[in-house]
C-alpha cells in the first residue's frame, strides 16, 4: 500500500489495467472522499443516504470495468472519476440501470464519463440573469414538496422516476405527477412574466 501511495495517477491506471485491486483501493483512498463530498453537496437535497452509498459504489464499479477507456491525454483521473460519479447520480435519480448494463462493455464507443445529455448551448449575460432569477424562484419562492420537485426536475434533467419520488416522500404516484405538472407550469409562468417585465422595461427606456 505504501508503494502505491508514491505512484502517480498514470501508474495507478496502468496497474488498474492489469486488474490490480490494490490500485483501485488507492484511487478510492486518494479521490474517494472528495468525490463523495461533491455528490453530497450537489445531490444532497435530492438523493437519500442509502442512495449516496449506491451511487458511489456504482461510480467505482464503472471506473473499474471501463478502466481501459480512460485517456490521460484528455484529462485528469479525478475529473474522469467526477464525471462518472455525476452520471451515476443522475441515473440513480431517474432509476435507470443502463449505465450498469453488461452490454456497454462490448460497445467500444461508450465511455462512462461522457455526458448522456445533449450539449448545452452557452448563455449570454441577459439569459444568465433569467437563470439566476429562476433559481431564486425555485429555491426561495416555492415551498415544501413543490420546491423539492422543482429542484429534482432540473438536477435530474427532466424529473426523477415517479415511483422513486412517491416512495421517498410518502405520496402517491398520481400526486407526484400532478405536483410536477403544477410546478412546471409555475416555472413557465415565472419565466414568461420575467421576460414580459424585461420587455416592458426595454420599451419604456
Amino acid at each position: 500500500m505504501d508503494d502505491l501511495q508514491m505512484q502517480d495517477d498514470e501508474t495507478l491506471m496502468l496497474l488498474l489495467l492489469e486488474e490490480d485491486q490494490d490500485a483501485l483501493a488507492e484511487i478510492l483512498r486518494r479521490y474517494g472522499r472528495r468525490v463523495r463530498g461533491y455528490l453530497k453537496v450537489t445531490f444532497g437535497d435530492v438523493l437519500r443516504e442509502p442512495e449516496h452509498h449506491a451511487v458511489f459504489n456504482e461510480a467505482a464499479y464503472n471506473l473499474w470495468r471501463f478502466r481501459e477507456r480512460f485517456k490521460p491525454e484528455s484529462g485528469s483521473l479525478k475529473a474522469w472519476f467526477m464525471r462518472i460519479a455525476y452520471n451515476a447520480a443522475v441515473s440513480m435519480l431517474r432509476r435507470e440501470k443502463k449505465h450498469l448494463a453488461k452490454d456497454l462493455e462490448y460497445d467500444p464507443e461508450y465511455s462512462p464519463a461522457d455526458c448522456p445529455e445533449e450539449k448545452i448551448s452557452d448563455y449570454d449575460s441577459k439569459e444568465q440573469k433569467l437563470l439566476e432569477a429562476l433559481r431564486d424562484f425555485i429555491h426561495n419562492k416555492l415551498v415544501g414538496f413543490e420546491r423539492e420537485i422543482a429542484i429534482d426536475f432540473y438536477k435530474s434533467g427532466g424529473g426523477s422516476d415517479v415511483t422513486r419520488l412517491a416512495q421517498i416522500h410518502g405520496k402517491t404516484k398520481g400526486n407526484v405527477s400532478a405536483t410536477r405538472t403544477k410546478v412546471k407550469k409555475k416555472m413557465i409562468e415565472f419565466v414568461e412574466q420575467y421576460e414580459a417585465r424585461q420587455r416592458d422595461r426595454k420599451g419604456s427606456s
Partner: protein, 131 residues
C-alpha cells in the same frame, strides 16, 4: 402547457445545471469542482468492501438496453391534429364534416336513383337483380 413552453423549460433547466457546475463538466470544471468539494468520510473498511463488490462484478445489470435512438426522430407535432380526430368522442358534431357527410350521402342516393332509371330504360340487369 404547450410543447414549446415545455421545450423552453427543458432548455433552461439544462442551463441551470450548467450554471451550477453540473453536467456536462469539462475537465477543467470537473477538476475545479473536485478541488472545491468537501471531504466525506470513507474508511478503510468501506474501501475494501467497495473493492470487493466492484471487482466481483456484483453490480452488473444483465438487462439488455433497448435501442431507442429512433424515438428522437419522431415529430409528434405533425400528427397532433390527426390525434385529435382519433380521440374525438363518438357522436360529437363537427359542422364541416357533417356537411361533407350529408353531401356524400345525397350523391350516393342520386347515383342509386340513376342506376334504377338506367336499368328500367335499357333493360340491363342491375347488380344482384338476377338472384
Amino acid at each position: 402547457m404547450s410543447h414549446d413552453a415545455e421545450k423552453r423549460l427543458g432548455e433552461l433547466a439544462a442551463k441551470l445545471r450548467k450554471i451550477e457546475g453540473l453536467c456536462p463538466m469539462t475537465d477543467e470544471e470537473a477538476d475545479a469542482a473536485y478541488d472545491a468539494a468537501p471531504e466525506e468520510p470513507l474508511t478503510e473498511n468501506d474501501i475494501q468492501s467497495i473493492v470487493e463488490s466492484v471487482t466481483s462484478g456484483e453490480l452488473a445489470s444483465w438487462e439488455p438496453i433497448p435501442d431507442l435512438d429512433w424515438i428522437d426522430e419522431v415529430d409528434l407535432e405533425n400528427v397532433s391534429d390527426d390525434a385529435y380526430q382519433l380521440h374525438r368522442n363518438k357522436g360529437e358534431d363537427d359542422e364541416e364534416s357533417k356537411l361533407a357527410e350529408d353531401e356524400l350521402r345525397r350523391e350516393m342516393i342520386e347515383d342509386e336513383d340513376e342506376n334504377d332509371e338506367d336499368a328500367e330504360a335499357g333493360g340491363t340487369t342491375p347488380p344482384g337483380a338476377g338472384r
